[in-house]
């Protein structure tokens, strides 16, 4: 068994690399989209506001696999052809945009109205209030749920197997279909997802000494009002 594992690991590692690449690229694409959708759904004028809310619901309501198929198989019918890797990044990036938009909306809403009022009575403009006071507080609030989404996203990259992106899941499946060592291959792949997830969380806690100052900062705004 040890030999089998030793044989699999070097086969799987590049797959893990692609899984991580898809995760990071989807975040790079999806997070700005999420912030824009959140701002639009909270603060934009009516038609744009409803468009943003609609897009968020659409993105969250469609299963990831359908999103992948739409981008990879659907778009070529409209003349947009792309490789599996960029297609998976776009599909998961769109999903990330929709899901994180909800997180950002919750973050903006969690900043107390009193903060807006303090800005208003100091005659700060709308954008300065948002940029200097509201956004920094909202960002702190959304970090933990964003980490949660990132873990979900990392695991959702296994869906890209369905459009033959050579990520970790694909590697495991391909290897097993040749060697018939399904149980071992998927267990190892599962453990590799788990290991990266745990490592990520550990790193977050190490770097995330800021989380303590977040909970402390919340005390500064007394409940009630």
């Amino acid at each position: 068994m040890i030999e089998s594992v030793l044989a699999m690991v070097p086969e799987f590692i590049p797959g893990l690399g692609i899984s991580l690449l898809v995760t990071i690229a989807s975040l790079v694409l999806g997070l700005p989209l999420g912030i824009l959708l959140a701002l639009g759904s909270l603060f934009a004028a009516r038609p744009l506001q409803y468009t943003c809310i609609g897009l968020i619901e659409l993105g969250r309501g469609i299963p990831g696999l359908i999103m992948l198929y739409l981008v990879y198989f659907g778009l070529p019918q409209m003349g947009v052809v792309m490789d599996a890797l960029p297609a998976s990044i776009i599909a998961l990036g769109l999903m990330t945009g929709a899901y994180t938009a909800e997180i950002f909306v919750a973050g903006f809403r969690a900043v107390p109205q009193g903060q807006w009022e303090a800005c208003g009575t100091l005659a700060l403009s709308y954008w300065k209030s948002l940029r200097l006071v509201i956004l920094p507080q909202a960002i702190k609030i959304v970090v933990p749920p964003l980490i949660g989404w990132t873990i979900m996203l990392f695991q959702a990259t296994s869906l890209a197997y369905a459009i033959s992106v050579p990520e970790l899941m694909s590697r495991a499946y391909n290897y097993a279909s040749v060697t018939f060592e399904y149980a071992l291959a998927f267990t190892l792949a599962g453990l590799m997802y788990l290991a990266v997830t745990l490592l990520g969380l550990w790193l977050f806690r190490r770097v995330g000494g800021r989380r303590r100052s977040l909970s402390a900062a919340k005390v500064a705004v007394p409940a009630g009002a």
């Binding site: 109205q113 807006w116 303090a118 800005c119 100091l122 005659a123 209030s129 919340k218 009630g224």
Partner: protein, 276 residues
């Protein structure tokens, strides 16, 4: 019903004011009405504030004191009435539930009117110094060095030298409220509004804040204070306005209203709060 008492402008010049004294009061509210969802909570209140005056707004909860105070800088949009500053009517329009000024006139007005909230509303992600600097730079357009120097000066003014680099969460409630006062003072307001500034503090910490306010009053700051601190109303205020049920029931010199109230409503209220 409309119990509003119109305070006739003073004929005699107010001591301590310049040669223009008596021409126009610093603040005049004319027949202010405030509605919440079609329900009127302030029924046409008029009030005149002269430069250097300290006015305490007292009365039972739900009397409309805070609403009236907040309407002065349009955190509540009055449904009717006029607000005049130095004789000029202010046309205020604010968005995001009243918070952010929508027109220039209101932004200008708000720079002249400092506001201190019951819940402090300090910016929790900024230090005490940064809290006081922010609006000087981004609202008044002062340069950074000048703003920092001024912030240090105002923090010293409220007795917080040595606390400049602390975050609000590391400060006591009394310190937080004094930072909030310094933040408002750094804007060079002509008038300061206090909305129950000590109500969320325990009595010991409230005293720090009240002493700071006393000092401001003695320095000639014009102040309008919604408060449940009867001693403050009695000792520091020049004039006391007693409100109940959305209207001014009684107003006059502090001593008169606090010690010899004319109306039954004020008598009941004062004996109840004093009896505690």
């Amino acid at each position: 019903m409309n119990f509003s008492v119109h305070n006739t402008p003073l004929d005699t010049p107010v001591p301590g004011t310049g040669s223009t004294a008596g021409t126009a009061p610093i603040l005049e509210l004319r027949d202010i009405r405030i509605e919440y969802k079609g329900h009127e909570v302030v029924h046409g209140v008029s009030l005149t504030v002269q430069r250097g005056e300290v006015i305490a707004l007292i009365g039972p909860s739900g009397a409309g004191k805070s609403s009236l105070l907040r309407s002065i800088n349009f955190l509540e949009q009055p449904s009717a009435g006029q607000i005049l500053v130095n004789g000029q009517q202010v046309q205020g329009q604010a968005g995001r539930r009243g918070a952010i000024a929508r027109n220039k006139a209101l932004a200008t007005h708000r720079r002249d009117v400092g506001m201190v909230f019951q819940q402090f509303n300090l910016f929790p992600h900024l230090t005490a110094l940064e809290n006081v600097v922010l609006a000087q730079v981004h609202s008044l357009g002062r340069n950074k060095d000048e703003a920092v120097a001024r912030a240090r000066q105002e923090l010293a003014h409220v007795g917080l030298t040595g606390h400049e680099d602390k975050y609000p969460a590391k400060c006591s409630g009394g310190q937080q409220q004094r930072i909030a006062i310094a933040r408002a003072l750094a804007m060079d307001p002509q008038l300061m509004l206090f909305d129950e500034p000590t109500s969320s503090l325990d009595p010991e910490l409230g005293v720090e804040v009240l002493n700071t306010m006393k000092r401001l009053a003695s320095e000639g700051m014009t102040m309008l204070v919604v408060t449940h601190e009867m001693h403050f109303a009695e000792d520091v205020a020049d004039r006391v306005v007693f409100m109940a049920d959305g209207a001014v029931v009684e107003e006059g010199p502090a001593e008169q209203v606090m010690l010899h109230p004319a109306s039954e409503r004020a008598k009941t209220f004062l004996s109840a709060v004093r009896g505690r």
